[in-house]
Point group: C2
Chain length 505, copies 2
């Protein structure tokens, strides 16, 4: 009998799994033993600062340890941390902490098995092929940015071929690039190759040219052979954790690969998916992109993590947390507040529960997860366990495919950020950018409105000014950039500075 | 009992070995069972074109298969191919061919286990730290180039922070960078960290500043945890092959890591080290840098590979092959000509042997290695087997450490390229470049003359014009660039265009 072990190989300190092969096997063998696990999103309040974690990863790890302690076969799927950011010291690791940790955080945080490096090489090779296509007269411009895993402020704007042709370029952070999106959204190597082929390399005589017009796609997929395999590691308590896909739900998808989640639901009863930064970033993207547009499984429950302080102490911003919980509940997703305590905050528990009650939340799950890990949670999970034991997998709401992008932007602003259509404003140049994107898509035989909307925005804000009263908040539309290979369209929102290439701090 | 298996972990299709750990174990346990294998160099005639292989890797593979067929415990150590070059299609794979192949060429050629990607990230992170140091007033200039595994003509000259500070930068191919050199030359993580710390990040007030003055070195070494481990794979006949270290002996070291070779000699009786491109590049670097200056083992024999056509058919260049064989023999290294036949050349064997005899060579080893693999060689290896069965490991000639660089350049020109001191000429600007390098070294407390000389030159030429008569050939000295971390100094030679950043072709 074939099982997941036939698709698994040790890879240093972790295992790597051929998820594409396993999903293909399940497809060809509909009677093979498998589970139909439920997906649970762990997301968070909108962070006050991008770099200050609420503890989503710690929560995810504590949750599966707690569920397994209760006899529930739970696993987690995490995104791979951005090694460049971790190594540069801008941010701590992204593999939990204290009793809610992974066994090999140093590996997970420091490049895992080279997945990001392979994606970087592959996207940069595409740019080199485009450069060669310019030499050969097949392209006039290159539209695909080079990538770097390492952050560097000065790479935001670069000029290559300096002193000769002086071509303006930009470099984006590897985890945010279109090829990473393609890895995240693909369920087979064939699909991946097709998507790479559909990337718009650049333009010739004003019209888009796809990579499949001049690149041997096997050269790219060969580089990605191991990068498309999720890594399996475990918590210090032995609970299974799959790591795959890039972070940065502010400027890209920032969700784990669909293949890794799909594989995990075939292997476990409950699969916790980390979706950060806040619910307006990662969770919004899981729901409105992965589920609605790419067939990922709609969550059977959600957990919205916060810190005791973040939740209550900034009067101007405290609307955000209840907004997120309510939005998810209104979508029919049982949503559990979870408060991750710092040391010395144990005496706040009663007050936090009272506030939660006043706000009409479900009873919050509260614990110091760094100190106590899953043990702090296990006794509090009756309601949660009930929510995920419902037999049916919930239906996914309808796709927005074909909805005019401008209408879809209004829809997201209203539903995800609480700003109605009349206060969605356009920055000078937005119309032109939209028209240009539409034309580019048409020139490669695609319709812009068929692409899934990726909101590009600051991770720390939902609107142009979250601190204003609700009726004064606006959302500004700035710029449109289609990724025809991934099948998404980026729209830059709000007045906050957003760049896919941070500086190291 | 501890053995190499305790330092070995499966890593997908290959094993990775903690060579640093094993070497450390041998050092602390002088009585542990180990071998004292002989090193054999496989090198080649100077290639007519960089991209046209003589078949060094194929020969290396065929040789160990043949030796093992004769009952000799032989292994090979190969450099990792440059995935960017392979993937871009500029060059075929670098893992042998036909019957003289590795079991997983697609893996070896396509990024192996992410070693190159990790080195790329680490060197680029150093550049980002240097950039931050500029912001903080600790540096005025950055001297360390960014790197890319993927070739791209337009990255030869770049401007970053465009539109603001417009900083001129350059990007070099990852396998050629100083950090790769450090990985190649280090025998422990401590040594590696010390060397990274000694890299000259840039200048402040005209003086060099080392990375150890402002970077936490563990951030860099953490990225390299797996990259410093050689991969163990095997030939299709099951002979062990270790792969580690970067190619490009034209513009960098281009030799396998010293740790991987040292480990292999503790495990096997004969260790074949591939040293390309031609003998004037890879072999020269193994002998004059690795052995003389960094304690690598002096070879007990050498094989100089050529094609039947290259050897004899260009009257202007046919001096090069005998020159290489003679040079190696004069160093006391038993040197075996090996002629790798193309299909249809079998009838040339007698003529080739006659020519070799006229030239005073040892009897050449001749075979179609693609078609016949090691079987073509095994019966011809009596003389070779005798050469490597001598008990003593040969002594290494004296170090050139402390010799003035200019004298060392004359010495290399005379011994490796056959051009005496009086015809070693200086291009305008060389003196200034030399003086600047001397000053920079002094400002970081080092002596330029203590650095090992890395000749940077075209792989296809040894002098300014190899086709001229011997008494008219010259070597031109162009530019000096110290790598204080690796402990080497690059000197660009000859008039051929050399760049560490090729275009894709």
């Amino acid at each position: 009998m074939t099982g997941i072990e036939d698709f698994t190989k040790p890879y240093g300190l972790v295992d790597k799994i051929d998820a594409f092969g396993y999903l293909d096997y399940l497809k060809s063998n509909p009677d093979a033993p498998r589970k139909h696990g439920k997906v649970v999103l762990v997301t968070a309040d909108t962070p006050l600062k991008a770099s200050r974690g609420e503890g989503k990863t710690t929560t995810t790890i504590a949750m599966i340890d707690a569920l397994r302690e209760r006899g529930i076969d739970a696993a987690a799927v995490l995104r791979q941390p951005s090694m460049g950011i971790t190594a540069a010291g801008s941010k701590g690791g992204a593999s939990g902490g204290g009793k809610a940790s992974l066994t090999h955080p140093e590996l997970i945080d420091w490049g895992l098995c080279g997945e990001m490096g392979a994606i970087e090489a592959a996207q940069n090779l595409l740019v080199s092929f485009a450069e060669k296509a310019i030499d050969e007269g097949k392209l006039d411009t290159v539209l695909v940015p080079r990538v770097s895993e390492v952050p560097s402020r000065s790479l935001r704007s670069t000029i290559v071929d300096a002193g000769k042709n002086n071509v303006a370029e930009r470099v984006v952070l590897t985890p945010t690039c279109e090829l990473m999106q393609i890895v995240v959204l693909s369920r087979s190597m064939d699909e991946l190759a097709e998507r790479v082929g559909n990337m718009t390399a650049g333009t010739k005589d004003g019209k888009g040219v796809k990579f499949n017009e001049f690149v041997d796609l096997w050269r790219i997929t060969n580089i990605l052979t191991d990068a498309v395999k999720p890594a399996r590691t475990e918590t210090v308590n032995g609970s299974p954790v799959y790591v795959h896909g890039g972070p940065f739900a502010n400027v890209s998808l920032g969700i784990p690969t669909l293949a890794s989640v799909e594989m995990a639901t075939a292997l476990h009863d409950v699969v916790i998916v980390e979706a950060g930064y806040g619910a307006d970033a990662g969770a919004q993207k899981w729901l409105d992109i992965a589920c609605r547009e790419f067939g990922a499984q709609w969550p059977s429950a959600a957990i919205v993590v916060t810190r005791a302080t973040t939740w209550r102490d900034d009067p101007d911003l405290q609307w955000r947390y209840p907004f997120h919980v309510e939005r998810l509940e209104n979508l029919g997703i049982p949503t559990f507040p979870l408060i991750n305590l710092w040391e010395g905050e144990d005496e706040l528990v009663d007050g936090l529960k009272a506030t939660a009650n006043e706000l009409g939340f479900r009873t919050p799950i509260i614990g110091n997860l760094y100190r106590d890990g899953g043990e702090a949670l296990a006794p509090q999970l009756d309601g949660f366990a009930e929510a995920v034991s419902v037999e049916d997998i919930p239906a996914t709401p309808e796709s927005h495919r074909g909805t005019p992008l401008r209408d879809n932007l209004n829809w997201v602003s209203e539903h995800a950020y609480g700003v109605p259509a009349e206060r969605v404003v356009e920055k000078a140049g937005f119309e032109a950018s939209l028209a240009e994107a539409q034309e580019l898509c048409e020139s490669v035989g695609m319709n812009l409105d068929d692409l899934a909307l990726v909101a590009v925005k600051s991770p720390a804000t939902m609107t142009d000014n979250d601190a204003l009263p609700v009726q004064e908040r606006t959302v500004t539309l700035k710029k449109v950039e289609p990724h025809t290979g991934a099948g998404v369209v980026h729209v830059n929102l709000t007045t906050s500075l957003t760049t896919p290439m941070p500086k190291i701090v």
